[in-house]
């Protein structure tokens, strides 16, 4: 059996190419390839070297179209026992190749070459080609033997031409030799034998047969030479004779041989043109060839020799001839037969050859799996040989099968098909159509794959190729660890270690072993380092450019939920960056990763290696860091891992694909899940580009970066320190706010920041920020109601509620001068520092309730009605307090006639563990009331109220009188304007309107009341009780603001007829405790003339019936009844009066007090025909109810002796 046979092989002149002297292997290969270019020499080209010595036996030689074909056998080959049968098996020429620089002595070269060529008995021509001779060698080389050809050093083309000439010369020589051989064969009866021929002596009958047989064989041999000489017509003629004779003598073997030759002649004649007729002819003849080879099988010497190999060779020749996709079925049938036949071959190397050929033919047919199958059979045959060279061959053959079994080394993938990365596009997008997912894991024949890899490992170990062994073991371990027992895994680990020992340190391998690496988290910029594109045209240059992160607000709290497909990320030269990578060791041994670092192909990144130990079945998240070194794009496809003594690159994409398959149940196992790691995460590598150095502000809060703990409403100054940690000065900076509770930042010292610019690298600036703690909402009140929120929920809420400072800053606008910034040629980007102020608001004073208290202090009856101005020495001071400031606030209602005081009572409790002091201040306004026009805007403080921890206290806030002077429809304006004529009013509706109208007034009022608190030395704030006050005032608002329709006043009448002096005297002598004389005192046992003044506060005439009473201290009516102590003159009850709008009416009467003491005068009136306004004011529901007006009490002090 010979490799690489085809039908045309019969026409090829076999030439041994042997190195003479020492020829470096690479040069030998080069010289050989030079020869290969001259495999076909056209007959037309050799005619000039050819001389016809005698009549050529090749009568029909096609000189213009034919050619001689050479087959170069590098290293030569031993003579075959079948040389006589097929002349093309003979080595017909020898070419020696000599590399002159390594063989200086040409004599010895010639000597050696002659010795070598002598070993080829069949050789008809020999040449020794000596390349690169020196000058000396050139000189004396010329006179050496004629078969030494020196190729002087020259350019390629010249040398090529030289060689071509030499080959043509050799072809001519061979042709002439063939002529001689043919003539010799025709004349002399050479005995042509094959090993097949019986060794036994011939019988008499056989002798006659043998003569004819010999003739047939001679004709066949001549035909062979004709083929070699490139003359198919001559060959055909001789073959026909041979066929005839062989058929007659039953020499089937030679018959088949001649038939094969005739087919070759046929093809040569057609010169490569194929058509279906030719194909059919070839098929027909070859079937006959096969049949005759089969017939020539002789049982008795089958153990020693068999024509089977010729039959198989013929089968392969036919298969190769037919090898086309359309005829696949036929070829497969032939190859299957050949494979069947291979079983019976005696020689193992024959079987090897046939398997090789079958594999090659299947490969040509496009049946890669079939080819791989037979290649593996070849490898197994090699492995049976148990020597190193066979192992190398086995390894190489197996390497060819890896593609079909899909276990190829990554090195070969990247070499032959760069477009093979099916998964690259899938890894990026999250969603992959199911079909393509499946196609990712095509042909997961894990059993086969493991076997193949194991065989590669075995052959590589035997062949002494540690890198191939390492690669195979790595592939085996990485892909099939779930199918390998822990003992097997350990074995592989030691195979890896053993291989690595034989490798030089720093060896790289394309196939990663363990661990599995995946991107765990790709930190976008920490919020402190956000990079913002700069718009130089605008003052606020950051506006319009989206922040680099996906979130406008708090990117740090939810940084891991990035589902955006591809992000752009900017890294800055010189600033360290970190990437989180998860490693998994799903195997049962301790894995030591000597070093692992990020793999960056763009070479602008310094990665920092770390070493990791991974226990069996474990995974670990590690931080890999590095520093970008120069401007430009940057990609991180994976990690470089130094493990098991070899450096490998572990791509993230591969693991992503693997995990994708695992999620679909298509891959054996998810290495991360079996290590107890969390489920599939889809983290994509963003597009990274590196920017030139930028300034970098680092912020810290003076006094610790912990949370700022404030009580509700507390106001505090916080100092924020900004330092430039970059290498470029900060030229521009701007602070803005975002997030919740922005209004809690009262002020920021922008000026301090602006004056500090430019901030040099390393410089620091401190700016004050005034904070006011917000009021806790109902939700977070629950979470933070504990004394100090230390739990995680508290922290979360705190973060979510805190306001955020956004500081946009940038370096100088102009480029820094050097050209490294070409990528960012416009302006270098700015940065954004996002500082969440960790404000933790604690519940402070809590408000329990507010209510309005009103209090009336009766006025003294005097000669004058109380003045509308507030008085210096009102008698109310005892109630309110002794401080004159407060007194001043209390004034007499001009129309009501007596002290009316309103207090807002706030009940506060202190649930905290500190003490609070409350102070209330009211801001006065002069425009509030026309009756107090002379009032100045001022603030009045009240004494502080102290609330101890866990106590409650009430704080009284005095309210001024806010009554309006007139009760009229203006209050119910809207109501009446809409349908003024209508009498029938919906009171509740109008009340609503009242409230709406009043809201503004109330707000105004409330805004002037401030309740401040202080706790300890440095904690102070303001209580936000607006809502509370509003709620308290709402119900009583009418009473506070609206005057009664009627006001009543009493006064002493001076000089009434006949009593003037009497009255005057006691009044003058009335001495009060207080220094100022009271003119309102009355003597007992004296007729005291009095006057009641009734004022109509409305704009309508009021008809009414007035009554007056006098009560003593005990509240008894002392005018009527049996024990009356007061006598009277005039009418006291049922006085009918009619008062014009905004006018007063008087009614005079006199009282005679029998007993000194304090009395109270009260007037009351029943209004007749009350209108709607009055009813509304009185909150009367039914129109029939009488409207009753009760005046405020007046105090009369009667002095005298009992």
């Amino acid at each position: 059996m010979e490799p690489d046979v085809s039908i045309e092989t019969s026409s090829m002149i076999r030439i041994a190419v042997v190195p003479i002297g020492t020829v470096p292997p690479n040069l030998l290969r080069e010289y050989h390839s030079m020869l290969l270019r001259h495999q076909t020499i056209p007959l037309s080209a050799i005619s000039s070297f050819y001389t016809e010595h005698q009549k050529s036996p090749f009568a029909h030689q096609p000189w213009d179209s034919g050619s001689l074909r050479f087959k170069f056998v590098l290293g030569g080959s031993p003579p075959s026992p079948w040389e006589d049968f097929q002349s093309n098996r003979k080595i017909l020429a020898v070419i020696g190749i000599c590399h002159c620089p390594s063989s200086p002595n040409l004599d010895s070269v010639v000597h050696r070459f002659n010795a070598t060529s002598r070993t080829y008995a069949s050789s008809l021509a020999s040449r020794c080609f000596a390349f690169c001779p020196g000058d000396l060698q050139l000189e004396d080389g010329a006179k050496k033997a004629e078969n030494l050809v020196l190729f002087p050093p020259a350019d390629n083309q010249t040398q090529e031409f030289h060689l071509q000439t030499m080959m043509q010369d050799m072809a001519a020589t061979l042709l002439m030799e063939f002529e001689k051989a043919v003539l010799k064969a025709e004349s002399t009866g050479t005995i042509l034998k094959t090993p097949l021929d019986s060794q036994a002596s011939l019988s008499s009958e056989e002798v006659i047969k043998a003569k004819k047989r010999r003739l047939a064989r001679a004709q066949k041999t001549i035909g062979d030479y004709c083929l070699l000489a490139g003359s198919p017509v001559d060959a055909n003629a001789h073959y026909s004779t041979a066929l005839e004779l062989a058929r007659l003598t039953g020499d089937f073997f030679w018959y088949a041989g001649a038939l094969e030759g005739s087919v070759c002649a046929l093809l040569m004649d057609r010169m490569g043109q194929k058509d279906s007729v030719l194909e059919e002819e070839v098929r027909y003849r070859y079937n006959s060839v096969l049949m005759h080879y089969r017939k020539s099988f002789i049982q008795d010497n089958a153990q020693r020799v068999s024509p089977l190999s010729f039959e198989l060779e013929a089968t392969l020749k036919l298969a190769r001839f037919l090898c086309r996709r359309e005829l696949a079925k036929e070829v497969v049938e032939l190859l299957t037969n050949a494979a069947d036949g291979a079983k019976s071959l005696i020689d193992a190397s024959d079987r090897l050859v046939i398997y090789v050929e079958i594999a090659r033919l299947y490969g040509t047919l496009g049946y890669q799996r079939k080819a791989a199958f037979f290649s593996r059979q070849v490898a197994q045959l090699y492995l049976q040989q148990e020597n190193r060279f066979a192992a190398i061959s086995a390894m190489q053959v197996l390497a060819m099968t890896t593609k079909a079994y899909r276990v190829q080394s990554r090195a070969s993938i990247s070499k032959c098909s760069p477009s093979n990365d099916i998964g690259s596009s899938h890894a990026d997008g999250g969603k992959v159509p199911h079909q393509s997912v499946v196609s990712l894991f095509e042909s997961q024949w894990s059993t086969l794959q493991m076997v193949v890899l194991r065989e590669i490992l075995l052959s590589a170990v035997r062949a002494g190729d540690p890198l191939a062994a390492w690669s195979a073991a790595a592939r085996l371990l990485r892909s099939y660890y779930p199918l390998i027992t822990p003992a097997g895994q350990n074995g592989l680990a030691s195979a890896l270690a053993n291989s690595a020992e034989r490798l030089p340190s720093g060896t790289r391998c394309a196939d990663p072993a363990l661990p599995f690496t995946r991107l765990y988290f790709f930190p976008l910029h920490p919020s402190q380092m956000d990079i913002v594109k700069r718009n130089p045209a605008r003052e606020d240059w950051w506006a319009g450019s989206a922040p680099s992160g996906p979130f406008i607000y708090t990117p740090f709290s939810k940084g891991d939920t990035k589902d955006s497909s591809k992000q752009d990320l900017i890294w800055v030269v010189g600033e360290p960056v970190q990437v989180l990578v998860e490693l998994a060791n799903p195997c049962g041994f301790d894995l030591r990763v000597d070093s692992i670092y990020l793999s960056v192909h763009s070479e602008n990144f310094d990665a920092f290696p770390v070493s990791v130990d991974l226990p069996p079945n474990s995974s670990k998240v590690i931080t890999l860091s590095g520093i970008p070194t120069s401007v430009g794009p940057l990609t991180i496809p994976g990690c470089i891992v130094h493990c098991f003594g070899v450096i490998t690159e572990h791509l993230f994409r591969d693991v992503d694909n693997l995990l994708l398959g695992a999620a679909q149940g298509l891959v054996l196992s998810d290495p991360f899940r079996c290590c107890g790691s969390a489920k599939l995460r889809n983290v994509s590598v963003p597009n990274i580009s590196v920017a030139p150095p930028l300034p970098l502000l680092v912020l810290h809060v003076v006094g610790g970066d912990g949370a700022i703990i404030l009580y509700e409403g507390e106001i505090r100054d916080v100092w924020i320190s900004l330092a430039n940690a970059g290498t470029v000065p900060v030229e521009q900076a701007h602070v803005s706010l975002s997030g919740k509770n922005q209004d809690s930042i009262i002020s920021i010292a922008y000026e301090a920041l602006q004056t500090a610019l430019p901030l040099k690298p390393g410089a620091e600036v401190t700016i004050p920020v005034t904070l006011k703690a917000w009021k806790l909402g109902s939700v977070d009140a629950d979470a933070t109601s504990g004394k100090i929120p230390s739990g995680s929920t508290g922290r979360h809420l705190k973060d979510a509620n805190s306001p955020t400072l956004l500081i946009h800053y940038a370096g100088s606008l102009a480029n820094s001068g050097d050209l490294t910034t070409n990528l960012f040629a416009v302006p270098p980007p700015g940065r954004r520092l996002v500082v969440p102020l960790h404000v933790c608001v604690l519940q402070g004073l809590s408000f329990v309730k507010a209510r309005l208290l009103s209090m009336e202090i009766p006025a003294h009856v005097g000669e004058n009605l109380p003045k509308p101005v507030y008085m210096e020495n009102g008698s109310a001071k005892d109630v309110v307090g002794s401080e004159s400031k407060i007194e001043r606030l209390v004034k007499i209602d001009p129309f009501r006639g007596s002290w009316g005081l309103l207090f807002l009572e706030l009940e506060l409790s202190n649930p905290t563990d500190v003490m609070f002091e409350i102070s209330v201040s009211v801001q006065l306004e002069n425009s509030r009331n026309e009756n107090s026009a002379d009032q100045e805007a001022a603030e009045y403080g009240y004494p502080r109220t102290r609330i101890d921890r866990d106590y409650s206290a009430r704080v009284l806030i005095p309210l001024e009188h806010f009554k309006l002077p007139i009760l009229d429809g203006s209050f119910f304006m809207k109501d009446f304007q809409s349908d003024g004529s209508s009498d029938c009013k919906n009171f509740s509706f109008s009340e609503k309107n009242i409230k709406a109208e009043l809201n503004a007034c109330i707000k105004n009022l409330i805004s002037r009341i401030k309740v401040r608190w202080q706790s300890g030395r440095n904690s102070s704030g303001e209580l936000d009780i607006k809502d509370a006050i509003q709620a308290a005032l709402q119900t009583l608002v009418m009473d506070v603001l609206l005057p009664d329709p009627l006001t009543f006043g009493f006064r002493l009448v001076r000089n009434p007829s006949g009593h003037a002096s009497k009255v005057d005297l006691p009044v003058e002598s009335n001495i009060q405790v207080h220094s100022s004389a009271s003119k309102g005192s009355v003597w007992a046992h004296d007729m005291t003339p009095l006057e009641v003044l009734v004022r109509n506060n409305t704009k309508e005439i009021i008809k009414m019936s007035l009554s007056l009473t006098c009560r003593d201290v005990a509240g008894e009516n002392c005018v009527e009844g049996s024990k009356a102590t007061v006598l009277w003159a005039g009418v006291l009850s049922g006085i009918t009066m009619e008062i014009a709008p905004l006018q007063e009416a008087r009614h005079s009467f006199s009282l005679y007090f029998l007993v000194p003491g304090d009395y109270t005068l009260v007037a009351a009136a029943v209004i007749d025909d009350a209108n709607d306004i009055l009813r509304a004011r009185a909150r009367s529901d039914s129109p029939d109810d009488p409207i009753f007006c009760l005046g405020s009490p007046y105090l009369v002090r009667v002095i005298g002796t009992v």
Binding site: K329, F373, S443, Q444, W445, L448, Q664, G665
Partner: protein, 136 residues
Amino acid sequence: MMATTACFIIVSRNDIPIYEAEVGSAAKREDAAQLHQFILHAALDIVQDLAWTTSAMFLKAIDRFNDLVVSVYVTAGHTRLMLLHDSRNDDGIKSFFQEVHELYIKTLLNPIYLPGSRITSSHFDTKVRALARKYL
């Protein structure tokens, strides 16, 4: 009569083996089982061309290596049921394939089963082995 060697395998349309079973009565040897798979894997090349030349699902013996013959049954969805055997019992093999096809369709109807993924049902396995005993 049960075949001494038989290896049954179902190959999905994506050329992934989704079910494998050694159903022969011969003593199980690991390297033999591997060889069986290698032969079946290689036979896929032949099936690939042959399947389009006929409308029949049962392609009969399409390939052989040494004494082992590969019979193939191709479903409409181009799932291939492949049997490696050393006996010549076409009728039995055909019946076996038809019944396994039915079983396979039942598996496909399972909404949880992702077509093209490995068949892990032990019920399926039991049934297939029972059919192999019956027909092969």
